[in-house]
Symmetry: C2
Subunit: 343 residues, 2 copies
Amino acid sequence: MSNSVPPRRATLSDVAAQAGVSRATVSLVLRDSPLVAEPTRARVRAAAERVGYLYNRGAATMRGTRTKTVGLVVTEIDNPFFAEMAAGVEAALDQAGYIAFLAATRDAPDRQDRALRRLREHRVDGIILCPALGTQVAEIATLAAHGVPCVQAMRRVPGSGGDFTAPANRAGMQALALHLIAAGRRRFAFAGAGVMHSGVRERLAGLRDALRRHRLPPPTLLRTPGTRAGGAATARLLAALPERPDALVCSNDVMAFGAIAALEQAGWRVGSEVAVTGVGDVPEAATYRPALTTLRTGPRQIGEAAVRLLLRRIADPGAPAERLVMPAELVVRASCGGGRRSA
Amino acid sequence: MSNSVPPRRATLSDVAAQAGVSRATVSLVLRDSPLVAEPTRARVRAAAERVGYLYNRGAATMRGTRTKTVGLVVTEIDNPFFAEMAAGVEAALDQAGYIAFLAATRDAPDRQDRALRRLREHRVDGIILCPALGTQVAEIATLAAHGVPCVQAMRRVPGSGGDFTAPANRAGMQALALHLIAAGRRRFAFAGAGVMHSGVRERLAGLRDALRRHRLPPPTLLRTPGTRAGGAATARLLAALPERPDALVCSNDVMAFGAIAALEQAGWRVGSEVAVTGVGDVPEAATYRPALTTLRTGPRQIGEAAVRLLLRRIADPGAPAERLVMPAELVVRASCGGGRRSA
DNA sequence: TGCGCCTTTTGGATCAATCTAACTAGCATC
DNA sequence: GATGCTAGTTAGATTGATCCAAAAGGCGCA
């Protein structure tokens, strides 16, 4: 079984010979052109079946048509957030007859360079990009200059222009903060990564908006990595503050999980003494104890939206740039001291 | 910026004209052939730089060389387990100059068919496949017959042969069961999906081995979906049993999380009254309360191993099939009643 | 000067599709 | 009988990199 000869792949010519027509006719039939008469069409179909013909997209691409491939560039795939976005992208692309190349940058611009270059070598029709921290505007401009459609997702390189989709970070965070304020919280801390990407900056801005509107002092900034460990690190920082905050707003769910565990270990009563919130609403958020109050950003929907924008751009490269802001829903759970239960 | 003309891409001929040499020479230079003299080499390099030349892999592919692409087919990307495996695959491929097409089957053979067909149309050099439930041997055989190297990962289609890599499910589960038995557990239940894939079957077999060896009765089988909800459903089933089990072995971590939450809600004391265990050791397992005893299967390592096997197979299609079983490490935590703490 | 030998370079064919323009029937119309 | 028109089909050029056989150039040696 394993040592059988790998047979030469059948080509258009083989099918043509079998059917007794020309290559051109076969090509037309395979692409469902109305130019071919029904009997011929049937003969060609049968011949293709007989010789086990398989379309060779590579050869087709050479004549200048589309590759029907798209590059999906994220910072990391193992991260429930991007994993879910990738799932949305994959599903939407599949439906459109496209398939995605997967690349991870681990937030390193040089790795991102390599990935983008490789994708261009493969002549992808477009790219969905969650830009790595420190990405220069020039990078994005290069893609545009080479005529490669690119949609930025989740984050955006400031001043880069072009299509973009992300959750309503600022408005969502405002809503979350207003809820906490209404529940009596007054002294806020915000946990975000040392170098913030645009999404985190927007969340922080939303929090500041709400506090300012209620004439409350701005949040204390805790600059720890956006990971579980980074969240845990905030416990020490909080304890060291002159005035204990009564609300810790984390820039993502995973940080919140780390923070809650560390805070409880240090004797804080999370939910009453201090409210802790996240962003994302990953599956773990609902079952975590205490269940996590968070902002549902719908990564899957964002992935689907990114595909919509990209396919539109591929179809019409001249269309004006579009920004698609997806609603972010406040999900209130026990970690901020109760309120109605929610899935 | 957005309405600048997308300039015609530079080709080998353009570079050749710039450098005053032939296409063939340029091709040799780009592929680092030792045949070209140093001065010429430098001249060509400079010319390529000047005209902004970008390698066109598609054209090269036509001459029969490799595409340097690989298909990664999993059941779902949003699933911490596969996400981490995908991360391992991506990293290993990147290092080898390859890039992966991503496809998700959602465990549906027809979707898998579509994906495999599309990958073959794109002439991938090989495929890493976590076969969907119900995949027929014929599917795998078709790939082999067409000379497409394929490595099965995590699961295997029974009787399909070929390369394969997965965690040591059976041995690992034996170790886990022995630990529980040594801790005094006697009445076991096993929660697995209704239709079990090979990995789950192996885990069940390992559990049965250990129980048989200690002359204990075989485990009660709970056939609920392999999800959080499926895990939660086991609580009702357990309560309905004539004799309450004192150990619930779940076929994956996510089920265990669902089970623990539901059992505690129903008044069971998890860890003392009943031990609950998972498989996978996803990040959530360490921070869950109670922390989850589980089998660390190292999905990232499995992804890397799959790439190793695949690249080997691509390089030497005639080599004998290889099965690579990755060690599964027992991680004891609070959910089985303590023992030493572990990360 | 001619010959062999080695290094370096090259033209042309090749891969498998698509595109263009032209060609063939068949039939009606003037 | 020439012309126009339509529907169906096709030969040949095209795409960009690679492979092959052969050519060009340089050098030493008889």
